[in-house]
């Protein structure tokens, strides 16, 4: 698949390079540290899903 060519390709590259350089200079100050683990995410997803399923069973049992 052809990409942008000539001058516009150079312009895109220059624009990205400028941004990436700015990010590289500051990367150490960016991340606050991971506080929420994958396990915790799955835990919350599972119990809220079970709540929806439980309520649905209740609804169909009652109607």
């Amino acid at each position: 698949m052809p990409e942008t060519t000539g001058g516009s390709q150079a312009s895109v590259q220059a624009s990205h390079d400028a941004l990436a350089a700015a990010v590289a200079r500051s990367a150490a100050a960016v991340e606050p540290g991971g506080e929420i683990s994958f396990r915790e995410i799955i835990f919350h997803f599972v119990w809220t899903t079970l709540l929806v399923l439980g309520a649905s069973f209740w609804w169909y049992a009652a109607h």
Partner: protein
């Protein structure tokens, strides 16, 4: 040690760069007020009214609580990416779709915002002019609809963003607690006038079913996916953003949907302007209309502006704010509330849910929450550039998810050609949005793992070669010292 980004940097890129941890100022309570304010919408009232007659008063309470619990958890999870790395949503999802593929999300957000802001403004116009009538004829004036719709829905939000976009944080801190009190007052008024026994007499008329109610709450929550990054990157911590989104949006989703649902049952109308007229609560109703529209239009316009600037960083911020605001005017004056709302929920479920499902599969299942920040900003040659800036596997899974959602939930849209009876039958067992989010995340992660395990993500396999590079173990993320 690397130098921190100057917070006062004035080059044209400053607002799309990641925000250093030390410069993020939104604590947990600020995030709760922010996202609570985000969900204080006339449409959140309307949502409860959509399914209340179908499932009755008791069903309304249960479906709203469990649906909002799951529906608002999904954007809370998705928003963790920007909270961790301080990047805008559409920079963060480059890891999944490629640097250019992320622009599909930008386009969806900007187009959907035209509709949402149009709806907010139109509701502000009709409800605001109806509320003025409560104060007596002396306060009503010609073109009140246009003044409320354009003034509160577009002009004031643009002015707010022009002056200082972070003023939204200041506004929500005092306005949102007040609006929550007003909403509780509306709920109390309904109970004091009708009493629970009267309200509980409204049994389900089965005009819509239980799954529709659950689906409506989940799709409404999922419609927030594109907006997470622009604001969560200001959060001091991941947990602050997570709690802010889930608790802030979830509590408001429940409270407002219940108020709207009960009001619909007791007045027989799902139109807030009718409740404003009949409730006799002129000042609280007017305050909710004005502040909720102002806060939300400003939040959404800022997200649009940032999304556009993530794709075109050289465009001036103030110019972009106006450009993304203007097309909403068309939506203020045409279409009914019901048709516009149905179309937007269809777009949220059909287009947005699978797109962010893929992004969540990439970030949580494959990358285990670790990104290479510098590579997110690099152009050609970046590990997230894939092929020509596009990850075609991600785009393909998104399209599969889109088709799957339309098969399951297309019947909810105003277009009869999107109704598939077998899909509707399956919807009654599965709903549509939640399974599509989970399904696309799993399918994408599975396909990528398959490509890598079979050794096709190597230079020897032309089209798939960039996949292997994109999913090499990310460099250990730097931690502030």
């Amino acid at each position: 040690m690397a130098t921190a980004i100057e917070p006062a940097a004035t080059n044209e890129y400053d607002s799309v760069l990641p925000i250093p941890a030390g410069d993020r100022y939104a604590g947990t309570w600020t995030m709760i007020w922010l996202w609570a304010g985000g969900n204080i919408l006339l449409t959140t009232f309307v949502l409860g009214g959509y399914y209340a007659p179908g499932i009755g008063a008791t069903g309304l309470i249960v479906a709203t609580i469990v649906g909002a619990g799951l529906g608002n958890l999904l954007p809370a999870i998705s928003g963790l990416r920007s909270a961790r790395y301080g990047v805008d949503e559409f920079i963060g999802i480059r890891s999944a779709f490629g640097t250019r593929g992320a622009n599909i999300g930008v386009l969806m957000l900007v187009l959907v915002n035209f509709g949402w802001i149009g709806i907010f403004s139109a509701l502000a116009g009709s409800s605001g002019s109806a509320s003025l009538g409560q104060f007596g004829h002396g306060l009503s004036f010609p073109h009140a609809y246009t003044v409320f719709a354009l003034g509160v829905g577009l002009v004031l939000p643009v002015v707010l963003l022009y002056v200082r976009h972070t003023a939204v944080f200041t506004l929500v801190k005092f306005a949102v607690p007040l609006l929550v009190i007003f909403a509780a007052l509306l709920l109390w008024k309904q109970f004091s006038v009708f009493g629970w026994h009267d309200i509980a007499r409204y049994k389900a008329n089965h005009s819509v079913n239980w799954q529709y109610a659950i689906e409506a709450q989940i799709a409404y929550g999922v419609s927030w996916f594109p907006y997470m990054g622009a604001w969560n990157r200001f959060a001091k911590s991941e947990r602050g953003s997570f709690v802010g989104v889930w608790v802030g949006m979830g509590v408001i989703a429940i409270l407002f949907a219940l108020v709207g649902g009960f009001a619909t049952l007791t007045t027989g109308s799902s139109d807030p302007s009718v409740w404003a007229t009949r409730s006799g609560l002129g000042v609280p109703a007017l305050a909710i209309i004005v502040f909720s529209t102002l806060i939300n239009s400003a939040m959404l316009l800022y997200c649009s502006a940032m999304a556009v600037r993530s794709a075109l960083p050289k465009l001036p911020y103030h110019f972009v704010v106006v450009i993304v605001a203007l097309p909403s005017i068309a939506f203020i004056y045409q279409g009914t509330l019901n048709s516009k709302f149905s179309i937007l929920l269809t777009i949220a479920g059909g287009f947005i849910a699978p797109y962010w499902g893929v992004a969540m599969g990439d970030y949580f299942l494959l990358r285990r929450q670790r990104l290479d920040l510098v590579e997110l900003y690099r152009g050609p040659g970046s590990r997230y550039w894939y092929r020509g800036g596009w990850n075609l596997i991600a785009v393909g899974v998104w399209i599969i998810g889109l088709v799957a959602w339309m098969f399951l939930g297309g019947w909810q849209s105003p277009y009869s050609w999107l109704a598939f009876p077998p899909g509707e039958h399956l919807f009654n067992a599965l709903t549509a949005t939640a399974p599509v989010v989970v399904g696309t995340a799993l399918l994408y992660a599975g396909l990528i793992k398959l490509v890598i395990r079979r050794g096709k993500g190597t230079a020897a396999h032309g089209q798939l070669a960039p996949i292997g590079a994109a999913y090499e173990e990310a460099k250990p993320a730097p931690v502030a010292s």
